[in-house]
């Protein structure tokens, strides 16, 4: 006789964690593009029966301070945020805030989630003197974040490749990518849609080229 129910099992979700630079340089078209495309990304996944129950979204923004905009919210109920941009680029604060969320949710993530997808987005280098590398090391040493799939995006030419590459821990899965212009963010979010779906269905992750988004370039492929 077929088994009707089984105790102790649960479908696991993918935590999608955005760490977004909302410094002054993103003001104007940059932050508008982020808002528009983030909304499309959320709406696309929340209306797809295969993904609407499978994703939880966290959004941490940083400029001269850091904020938790969304905290492990199921995508099915997520209202897309409207982000604003201002001030400087204190990446250390952003990383620190992100780890606050992860540590607070650590037991929950281990019990209920698959590996997270971390998306870092910025259009410029961290403030001079900002001690972001120790914070990045701290994140890289964390049990959960060590296992996260990472995508680090640089928009425009004002961010060094080395800043993006610093996010890469597992060369087989993590990607440092660039778009030439903030207007290409649409393509980047298309790429995110593809790999989010691949993570949900346990498939190997595509490169931007394999996902058919040729304006998103790999840094040092």
């Amino acid at each position: 006789m077929p088994i009707q129910n089984m105790e102790g099992l649960k479908h696991k979700t993918i935590p999608v964690i955005f760490l977004i630079d909302t410094s002054g340089s993103m003001d104007g078209l940059g932050i508008t593009q982020v808002n528009v495309n983030l909304k499309e990304y959320i709406e696309d996944l929340k209306t797809d029966p295969q993904t609407k129950e499978a994703v939880q979204v966290t959004i941490v923004t940083f400029n001269s301070s850091a904020s938790i905009i969304k905290n492990f919210e199921p995508i099915a109920m997520l209202v897309p945020p409207v982000l604003t941009a201002d001030a400087t680029t204190d990446l250390a604060l952003g990383l620190c805030k992100l780890m606050e969320v992860i540590q607070e949710k650590s037991d929950y993530i281990r019990a209920n989630c698959k590996r997270p997808l971390l998306i870092f987005m910025s259009d410029g280098n961290p403030d001079p003197g900002c001690k972001w590398k120790p914070e990045l090391d701290n994140m890289n040493a964390d049990y959960i974040m060590k296992r996260a799939v990472r995508v680090a995006l640089g928009a425009g030419n004002n961010i060094n490749d080395s800043t993006l590459e610093a996010f890469i821990l597992n060369k087989e899965t993590d990607r440092a990518v660039k778009v030439a212009d903030v207007q290409d963010l649409r393509e980047f979010f298309k790429y995110l849609q593809t790999i989010t779906r691949e993570m949900i269905s346990n498939k190997p992750l595509s490169t931007p080229l394999q996902a058919g988004v040729d304006s998103v370039e790999l840094v040092n492929p």
């Binding site: 006789m1 077929p2 088994i3 089984m6 105790e7 102790g8 099992l9 649960k10 479908h11 696991k12 281990r110 019990a111 209920n112 989630c113 698959k114 590996r115 296992r147 799939v149 597992n170 087989e172 899965t173 993570m199 346990n202 498939k203 190997p204 992750l205």
Partner: protein, 254 residues
């Protein structure tokens, strides 16, 4: 001991073989058991997983048979040495295959697989994990999750035995078997990755065992595989191997 393995529907649909394998050896009151899961995206993962499971049980048995060990404390270095030999053998297999032009780009990584290993003499238990999958010790009073199933559901993320840093991801446990130990369960991630409450899950398994004969329980495991598939938990290959420390099954009526 019982071991059941099921090809996942995803592999069946793609006409791929079951890439999970299990193997065991018994010698001088010791049981050596291994369960291995070939990584889906690697060309010869099914060969790698079979080789890993077969060889680690044989090599570990040989070591203890030879009596060269000063005791169970040697377990980790011995295990690491055996795994190093297996990795070297896979490397050689890849090199030999390269002789054929169509195989010129084969590497050790094409044989990528995870590994779960257990050795018990009924008093002590030694377990190892490389990659993912879970090992659970089920006792009358509690369920011990010996290794957290690393969430390596993506074939290109899991750290397999062929990974250069495999030793960094090797987990080892040595413990005395509790008096109320019922059974040990080794599972590939197709089964283990969705267990969020091991206590409830294994209480149910123990209850099902107690009301069934061995054959009936094996059929129930078939149903459990079907449950995972039909309820959308996993379409991956699934393997469960159980070592029993007590007589739990209903007696077969002749």
């Amino acid at each position: 001991m019982i071991s059941c393995s099921y090809p996942g529907s995803a592999h069946v649909n793609m006409q791929l073989p079951n890439q999970d394998h299990s193997a065991y050896q018994v010698k001088d009151g010791r049981l050596f058991l291994a369960v291995s899961d070939g990584l889906g995206s690697c060309r010869y993962a099914n060969i790698g997983s079979k080789w890993a499971a077969d060889q680690i049980t044989k090599k570990m048995m040989k070591h203890f048979e030879a009596g060269s060990s000063s005791g169970e404390r040697d377990f980790k270095p011995v295990f690491v040495r055996c795994m190093t030999e297996i990795r070297d053998e896979l490397e050689k297999a890849a090199q030999m295959s390269q002789v054929e032009p169509e195989n010129s780009n084969i590497s050790k990584k094409d044989f990528a697989a995870t590994l779960l290993f257990a050795l018990t003499d009924e008093s002590n238990l030694f377990c190892a994990q490389i990659g993912d999958g879970g090992i659970y010790l089920v006792c009358e009073s509690e369920v011990q999750q010996l290794f957290e199933p690393a969430k390596g559901e993506f074939s290109n993320i899991t750290v397999p035995i062929t990974h250069d840093q495999w030793k960094d991801y090797l987990s080892i446990k040595l413990l005395e078997l509790p008096e109320d130990a019922l059974f040990l369960c080794l599972m590939t991630d197709g089964f283990s990755d969705y267990i969020v409450q091991p206590e409830s899950f294994f209480q149910r398994i123990a209850a099902e065992i107690r009301q069934r004969t061995v054959n009936e329980f094996e059929q129930w495991l078939d149903d459990l595989n079907e449950f995972y598939e039909s309820k959308g938990f996993s379409d991956d290959d699934k393997t469960m191997s159980l070592i029993f420390f007590r007589e739990l099954f209903k007696k077969q009526v002749k």
